[in-house]
Each structure stands twice: as structure tokens, then as C-alpha cells.
Subunit: 365 residues, 4 copies
Amino acid sequence: MSGIWGKNLKLSIFGESHGKGIGIVINGLPAGLELDFELIDKEMKRRLPGRDNISTKRKESDSFEIISGYFNKNTTGTPLCVIIPNEDKKSQDYDKIRELLRPGHADYTGYMKYKGFSDYRGGGHFSGRLTAPLVFAGAIAKQILMKNNIVIGSHILSIGHVQDDYFDLAQVDINTINKINTKEFPVINEEKGRKMIELIQEVKSEQDSIGGTIEAAILNLKAGIGDPFFDSVESKLSHLLFSIPGVKGVEFGRGFEITKLKGSQANDQYYIQNEEIKTYTNNNGGILGGITNGMPVIFRVGIKPTPSIGLKQKTVNIKAMENVEIKIDGRHDPCIIPRAVPVVEAVSGLAVLDLIMEHGGNFIG
Amino acid sequence: MSGIWGKNLKLSIFGESHGKGIGIVINGLPAGLELDFELIDKEMKRRLPGRDNISTKRKESDSFEIISGYFNKNTTGTPLCVIIPNEDKKSQDYDKIRELLRPGHADYTGYMKYKGFSDYRGGGHFSGRLTAPLVFAGAIAKQILMKNNIVIGSHILSIGHVQDDYFDLAQVDINTINKINTKEFPVINEEKGRKMIELIQEVKSEQDSIGGTIEAAILNLKAGIGDPFFDSVESKLSHLLFSIPGVKGVEFGRGFEITKLKGSQANDQYYIQNEEIKTYTNNNGGILGGITNGMPVIFRVGIKPTPSIGLKQKTVNIKAMENVEIKIDGRHDPCIIPRAVPVVEAVSGLAVLDLIMEHGGNFIG
Amino acid sequence: MSGIWGKNLKLSIFGESHGKGIGIVINGLPAGLELDFELIDKEMKRRLPGRDNISTKRKESDSFEIISGYFNKNTTGTPLCVIIPNEDKKSQDYDKIRELLRPGHADYTGYMKYKGFSDYRGGGHFSGRLTAPLVFAGAIAKQILMKNNIVIGSHILSIGHVQDDYFDLAQVDINTINKINTKEFPVINEEKGRKMIELIQEVKSEQDSIGGTIEAAILNLKAGIGDPFFDSVESKLSHLLFSIPGVKGVEFGRGFEITKLKGSQANDQYYIQNEEIKTYTNNNGGILGGITNGMPVIFRVGIKPTPSIGLKQKTVNIKAMENVEIKIDGRHDPCIIPRAVPVVEAVSGLAVLDLIMEHGGNFIG
Amino acid sequence: MSGIWGKNLKLSIFGESHGKGIGIVINGLPAGLELDFELIDKEMKRRLPGRDNISTKRKESDSFEIISGYFNKNTTGTPLCVIIPNEDKKSQDYDKIRELLRPGHADYTGYMKYKGFSDYRGGGHFSGRLTAPLVFAGAIAKQILMKNNIVIGSHILSIGHVQDDYFDLAQVDINTINKINTKEFPVINEEKGRKMIELIQEVKSEQDSIGGTIEAAILNLKAGIGDPFFDSVESKLSHLLFSIPGVKGVEFGRGFEITKLKGSQANDQYYIQNEEIKTYTNNNGGILGGITNGMPVIFRVGIKPTPSIGLKQKTVNIKAMENVEIKIDGRHDPCIIPRAVPVVEAVSGLAVLDLIMEHGGNFIG
């Protein structure tokens, strides 16, 4: 029953999609940090719908208000609370289907967990909207990480069966990341990107939706971060990544593919380059024994298709306890992947910052 | 820097492969539980090497000694500490390659994290041997879960490219699990099982190793367990699963395959059966919004090939800081997957028990 | 660096005295609880200044706004966030003495911890105002506890040298509590209460302040709550009580007086009454080995005099690093004890609820 | 139900008085620390009974065995587990009074919490013996703190009504501490010390026991350590201090006496000395707003008389549920205070180290 995460950096999330607002309290930020609001805005906008014709028509401005922990243009070191008021709520959209369990959503599980008392409007606390405060917090994490030269970047690896090129696991560098970051639709292979957009428009026209994967890289993490038990880098990252609505798979390095390799192929052999220890390959995604080895940390996240679709589906009226059909109207994303990119980066930044803070040090100067 | 995990059930792990012993302290067990030592022994033996000619020749008897928390044939409710003394240690095997970083192992990352002070013998705290206390604790978790009718079962889904049949996600039941559990080499399709064993023997003869995947199912979890943020069932399970040495991927339900589906295919539509709400399919693996929906919880774990191989590999002498070659002698598993099966089940049991304890209740009577 | 507390009931506090607002996020509340706003208002008002001529002239209406976790007149089970906007702020009062460290306050320690970046206005995050959200949360805890028949009551035990009668440790009951609760100035002996008020007015006229003690009782806790290590009832209660600004001492049962007794006097001997095990005396304050024994849990809290006084004091200008004098104008409480009473009860209720939730169960119906 | 404590330094305690052994797992120790076994032995011996004729005749050698986390004369950085085997157990002493609740002990509360399944022999997990692993861990904490120039010292402030001199709160320094540390019976005023010993012998001859207080000082903590909410230095220290069996009161600085002062007397006024900010007095015991101010951190702990006395007492046979009398034979301390001194210092060291680690840094070199 907990909306709290973290050890050194502690988050406390709250809010429902159609309530007064959503927000987050961030504990453990260093004092004396001037927030980079340009970066925060940029990250928040990446998550916003309505930028193009492939996402929901809902307007979410996600304008935020910092309630505490920021004074005279600096973090105070005390808990920073931010609230994002809810606007453009169309609660009546949901009232009429209130008792109908939307397949693929948390309507039923939330009903069971909260005994029928959860806010059902717009998914309530389960809404993807709750990722907005995570992106806010993640932008601050990114800012602090960048001061320590640590960079996070990601691209859409696939939409349905359309597949982008993979990162070169051992070679991905700041140039790779910078190139992707300038793109509106972040893919390596733009031709594939166009096909992805076509596919999204196609499923949209069918009133259907489609899933996809995101591949992310974290650069310049020093060797020695993380724990064997029980806070491996993989454990920490996956814990937060699996909190993102819709994520059903997480893999590191070569991931599930590594299971098909022989040890002689999978092992990342070592060599010395400029007095530093490197590996020729990076099948382990920069993590051995739960601890970083100085190579890029690379992982992939699988996200299911948006459950809200216009097509007719079989479901149950939980009050009447009878089989019925449902057709979900309203404004929905045919594909959530593009909007999930900044969320994946945000929680990765938060997880990594928490891990690094374990080692103390000053993350400002 | 933490060897502690859990909220309601708290584990504290300790030990190094070639030190005096390894062990675990389990907090939060109910008082008055008579341990099922037959089950514990059975689970511990499943993890042991040397049962056949496809695993290491090392002998690990894993005889354990309960130090505290058990009195008059019952748990006392206070911390239960168990120690597994180390035997059959051949530390000299490791001394001669002490400064050579074994590719794929945590030698380098442990060296960096612990500044050269970690116990390098046999992997030290990173050793797969540390999973023995997890299996011990997991057996107790399983016993408690079984009293609540909750059952965990798993099979080897693949070794290299040889693939077993998948669980039928919506239909897997206690019969499926019981059938697998009687098998020495737990697969659904025995023909595939034989091919897996052949493959393992083949890579062994090549002094190489091979990876694989495990598919697990947790049956009879009631709907309503887990959290949207930040302790989703996926988060809790993946956190522990990624603490198992060698795990590089975790996926739930259809996992990464769901990303290729359309919403109309991926959504698990509802119907009523015997006054209970069920789904026709189970692509979400029994979890929606981080919370169980009453369907089987199903997930897959990808494990890399054993890093210890007899073949020559390039590496670095970290003391001399020069490029060298390494050939790892000693007794190693050509494939760790069969021995990882009980470990996957153990940590799943621990994660699920911790989640269920959130709801209070008496897990004994 | 943490504003988060609790295991089963988790609090996340935030805010500065003169910022936009202060608030708290409460995790772990059961779903389906209709909040008793009358009780919340009553508790909030008990903490408010300005009710009489013995407290500050500042107006704090402490009107609160529930942001999340409450829907259709019921808790949803998801995080409940409440914000109390700040009003009647006179920040200029503080600006002129900004660099002068107020003796007895956290100006210097906050400066050192937060490297000069903390919000210095009105004590910022250190302000006694931060106890308002605690009282809000505590009122909810009290409501839940009352449904389980658990009652918390307290009285002003002393102001300076003026001493109220003590609770009869073994006999304090619901009548004792109810009698105190009806009083504006909660003491057992009203004559002593009048003398306390006189003393407060006296120190006020001297532009000085005075400290005092509060004695509290928690009734009807069942035997068996709490832990030997490390979450004894005393540990849990003292942890939160020492978070209340100004608290410098906490004792249970006979407290420090028990140290002067012999074992034959201190031991609470047992007898059976109505099939229940009772003790003749209650020198241990209802707690043995960190666990409740079913007798009233009784403790005392010592609170220092308000540091803000009108008299001239020696201090340091931290910017100029020179010795100076300070005279604190503004509206301050000559004695904080009466307003601290509901705060002590609030955090006690929160600590006790967290402990009880350890045992699971339904705290609503 | 938790035997785990700490954030950066994490302890996991286990064991019962008459089981196989007691012990602790310490997480978060830096790698590369050569343990000062002389200091550990010294601290362990201070806790041992049988040094003189004022404590129990039981022999506890408290010889310990380090199971993990120590290799090649250095901490490895992984969990350090130490076990102290139990010897000289006379379990039959307890068997005959098994069903009789010893007044003042945790027999009844333990019975209720653990439903009759706790190990009743010698207090089981509630035994004062469990403080031995705390002293072991505390000695390591002390060693690390000393490398950072932080020193902890304490003296017996009172036994019954016999009172030692108080620390001079603002002046206590390393010389004060060193002088006390050389004494077998640590008091400031030796004349009072003799009277204390006389009193202890007197109550011993009466088959009774007596309580007392300990005053402790922590020197050279930098200003800026601790938190306003919810981990004030007072909260952290009191949490652990109240886990020591028998502790019923904790106060900081002037403690409960400060409640009788006016603000003009209680406030610690500032001045500059050698470019450092000091206070003339130290009524706040070195802590303001939960955070250290650089002055000595001073606190007092009140400990009740040993519950085990030879005198006849009224109690209950919990099986027969009838009123009976009990006379406790066996070897018991007439006064536990002298043996509690190193325990108070140990947990203080652990609490302080955990707080300091919050600020990162290297505690070894």
C-alpha cells in the first residue's frame, strides 16, 4: 500500500487523474541546486499528448506548481513538493462505463484491491498521467547526473513488428545519444521511424492500438555502482521500470538473446585502453554481479498496446455480475510508446541517482 | 551496500563462497510454524550440483544449521538465522588466477566496488552459492504459501536455441505444475528436454557453456495483491529475480511478445465463470496495474551462460594492468539453468509472501 | 535527508512556514474510510494559536485542502495528500534578522546542514507550523484507532515548576481521558491549571517564555504489540515524539523515577481479573520487552521553552562572523505546551497505528 | 516483527539466550577496514558479567566468530556476520518456572506476541545477552568514528538515589572522557561511585535489585548532522536506546529539567571562538531542530532495576490461569547499570555512524 520509493533519493507520489491534482514529494535533493526549468519543461513536453496526430486529443498542459523545497532560486535541501493540477477533465466519459471493467486496464484489480472505493475516473491513481510527476522528478535527476557527466538517452526500438536498429552495445556514446535527442520521433533508422508512424496511424484508423519497445543507454557510470544482493543495478532499474503502467518486460545488455549464446560468445572479454579497463563486447549491458563495469548500461523495456480501444470487447458488469460488451469512446493514444520514452528515461535517472548517492559525494558543484 | 530485502518478510543475507559459511536471517515469519524439513531438503537438493553429468563436479552438501528462531519444533516468531557451512573448498584454484579478471564474472566490478578488499575466492559474496540460503528461505515461503493454497511451479523453457513448449497462460493449473514437479529435468515436452541435455553435454565437451530461460507460474493468488506505485507485483518479483546471479531479462505474461500485438489482441477480455470474474486470455500474466487479477501470475527469466569456461579468453591482469589470456580450470556448470529453477521459485515465493503479508492475516492455521 | 516515516502507515511531510504551503502525504490508509472532519477540525483547532491570551497573536486558520486519496466521501486507499496553504505571512519580520542566529532555534544548524540555502523565513521547514499536517494525519489515525476502541488522551503535566497531578498509572481509564478532553486547558487539577496560566502570563509580560511537560495515555491496546528489536513501542513512539520541535525528553511508565526504585518496588506484579491478566502497578507504562502488556501505555514528554523571546540575547551574525545582540520582535508563544498537546497525541496515534497495522486486520468496519 | 535497523549502516540481529548462539549481520561497513580486535575485546569485556561481586555469577565468555565479511584482515564491504555461541546455559533453571510470568520481564508480552511459541529459556530473544552483538557492532562503529575524531564516553550518573556529578554540558571534552574510561566503575565522583557499589551490594544481600541512569557524551560531531523530520538526532538515538532492555527514559541536554527554565535561561546563546560558532551553555545537548550544532551531544538514559529478584512476588501461572507466587532463583545482576554502560555507548555509536554516513565520505583513511 505504498506510494513511496527510494533509499537516498526518496519519492512520494500521489494523485488521481481526475482529482484536484497529481504530484510528488522528492526527498534527498541536495541544497543549493538551481533547477533547470528549461530541461524540466522539455522533458514534460516530451511526455505530453497532442503534439501530433498519433496521440490522444486530450490536452494536458502539465503546468506544475512547486509547493516547497525551492527558495530564492535554489533547492533548500528539504522535501520538494510539486503539484500538477488536473485540467480538461471529462469525468462523464467514465461515469457511464463505470461498472464495466475495461479489459487490459486496472479497473478490476483496483476495484478488488481498494474494495470499490478507488477513484475510477480516468483510471484514477492508475492513470498514465501519474507518470508526469515522475518525469518532473526525473528531469531534476537528469540535471544532477549531467553535472556528473552521466547521460541517459533512448530510442523507440520497435512499434509492433517494425524494428529500429539496435544500439551498438559496446560503442554507444554521447554522439549517438545527442543525435537521437534532436529527433521528434526518436529512432536511429529514420526509414523505420516512418514505418512506425504509418503503423500507428493504421491501428488508429482501425480504432485499435499497438505496443512497442524502448531501448535506453546510460553513459559514463563509473565502475563499482550497485550491489550483489539485493540492490543490483538491474533490480533497482527494473523495480521502477515495472512501475510504469504497461511495462511487461525488462532486459539488460543482450537480454533474452544472451540465453541462446555460449559462454565463449556471451562473456565480455577485457582489454586495456588508455589505462582503463574495457570490454570488447557489452553483452552484459554494463553490469556484472549487479554492479556497473564502466561500460554503457543498456536495457530494453517492452510496453503493451494501450488498452483503451474503440473496438467492441467482451467484459463484465461488476455490479450486475453479468457478461456484457464494451466500446470505449474518448480520446486515447493508439500507441503510448513515443510518450513513454521520457518516462523510461526519467525513472532510469531516478534509479541511477539513488544508486550513486549511496556513494555520498556532492552532486552539485 | 545492502544485503537486506523486504518489507513484511525481511531477509538479511551474508557469506562468501569460501569463507566459514553462508547464511540468511529471516524476519517476519509467523510464530508457531513447524518447518517442513522434507520440503526444505527437497528444494535444497534441487539446487545442488553433481546430481548428473551435466553439472559441476563440486560437492556441495548444503547441510544447514538453524541458529535461532526455531524452538521446540516451531518457529518462535523472532529472527530465524540459518547457516550453511562451507565445505569442499578449493581456494587454491582461485589464488593462481586472483589478479586475472574472469570475463562475465563480477571479479572486476567487485574489485572496483570493494576497492580490492572483497573475498575473491570462488566468487566470494558473488558466488552462485549464495542462492542456497535463498532456496532455504524460499522453501519456508513455499510451505506458508501452500497452506494458503498458493503454488509455484516452473520449467526450463529453453536451453540455447532448444525451446520447450510454453505454458498455456490462461489454463496452467495445479495439474500442469504437479506433472512438471515430478520430473528430474523439468520440461513440458520431454523430447525437447532430451535435446536440451544433449546440447548441455555438447557445450560441456567443448569446455564452453550455454544459457537458457525459465518460465514460472504462481497459482491461486487472489485478485487485489500488489500496488500501482511503486510496489507492483512485477516490481517486487523482478527486484528479487534480478538479484539472482546471471539473470539478464524478466518478462510477464506475453512479455516482449505483447509489444507486437494490437490492443484488440493483447487485452484480456472478461467473462463470468462460477460467479468469478475470469479472462479468456492471460497475456498480462495475471497482473494489471501492478495488481493481481486472480489469473495465474506467469513470468519468464532469461539467464546468461555460465561465465566460467575452459576456453581461452582475453582479459586483464588488474595488478599489472596488462592484457593477458585466461583459461579457467576447475569444476564448473556448463549450464546453470537446471539448478536455477529452484532459485527462481524460491525468490518468487519470497516476493509473493512479502506482498501477501501486506494484507495481514494468519498464514499458519 | 528524509521527510518520510513509517512502515505500514507511511508519512511524507513537506513545506516551509512562509512558502506556498505545508502538507503531508499519507500512505497505507485503508480504502473506504469516511473521514470524520469534525474530529479533524477539532484537533486542528486545538493546535491553533490565538485562542486565548497566552499564545501568539499570529493567525493560522490551517484550512486544509485534500488533493488526492479521497473520493465520493471515502478514502480511496491510494496516497492521501493534504495541503495547508500558508496565510498571514509576515516574511519581512524575518528578513531583517536573517543573518542573526536566533538562540535555541535551528537557524544555525539548518544553515550548516543546508549550506545556507534553507528557507529562513519563520523557521522554514523547522517551523512549529509543520506540526499542523501531523495533527491532520494524527486525527485520521485517532479515528481509526477509536473504531478499534483505542483512545489517546493527555494533559499538561507541568509548566515550569507548576505541576499537575500525575495519571494514576494503573487506573487511568476512559473516564479520566474524557474528563480532560472537555477542558480548554487540559489538566487534572484545575487549581494547578490556573497557576500554570498565571505563570505563562507572567513570563509573557517579561517577554520571556517557559517550558513544560505533557503526560499521555493510550488505552485499550491489546497485549502483544511491538517488538524487542528494534521497533519497541518505546522506540517507535520516541522516534516520532523527538521529531516534534522542542521535545528534549521522553519517558515511559515511571520513567526516570523508576531508576530510583528497587526491583521489588518497580516490578509490576501480576494477577487475574475477569479471566484477564493484569498488573497491580504500572511502573513499566504498559510495555515490557518493547511489547504492550495490555495495561495503559503511559509516557511523558519534556518540551523546552519557546526559543523566540523579546529579551536581548547574545548571538552571532553568521555572514559577518561577528558577535552581536539580538532582540526578537514578532508574535510568539510564551509557552508552546498547550498547543503541543494535540501534536503529542497526533504522533502517538500515528506511531500506534503503524504498530497495530503490523498485525494486519481491518481497521474500518 | 523486525530485527532490522538502520539506513546506511544496517543491522540484522538474531538469537536466543539459550539457543545455539546469538549474532548480528552488519551491512554497510566500508571495505578495507582492519578491525581493532583489542577495542572489540575491551568493549565486549565491559559488558561481561562476573568481573566483580556486584554482577551475576553466570559466565559469559562472549567469544565471537566472524562468519563473513572479513577476509585477509580487512572488511570486505559485504555483510559482516558475527556469531557468539551460547555457553554455560542452565536451561533447567527456567523450565521449572516456565509457566510462571516473571514480573518486569517480557515473559507475558512475548507469550502474547508470539502466541506461546517464543523460546522462554533465559528470556530467549528478550535476554540482555542480545546486547552482546550490539556491543560488537558498536565497537566497530566506535573505531570508524574515532578515525573521524568522534569520541563517545559515558558514566554512571546514578544508582538508586546515589547521584554522580553531571557532565558540564558545554565543557565536557576528550580529557573528561579519557579520565572516565580508565575507571573500572565509570563515575566522575569516586566517592559517589563507592556509595553506588555499597548500595548495589546492599540490594544484592536483600535479594533485590536497583536501577540507575547513564549519562553519555558524543564529542566532535560537526554541525549539520541529522534531520528535522523524521530523523532528528534525538529520534535516531532514542530509537536505538529504547531497544536496550530496561531503558524507560531518554533525555537530551538539560532534558526534563529544561522544561522548568525560562527561554532566557534555556536558550544557548552564541559567540565566536577561533572563527568557530559556539554556545555559552549547552542546554540543548548539541542538537537544535534535530541537527547537531557542533557542541557535545549529551543525553541521559534511565534504566529500571533488574526484574529478576530472589524475593517472593505475586504472579500468574499462564497455563493454569491462576494467581500464584514466584521466587526467582538463579544468578542475576542486582544492578545492570555498570554492564549497560558499553551497550549505551555501542548503540549511540551505531546511530551516529548511520547519521554521518548520510553525508557520504570515506570513513577509513
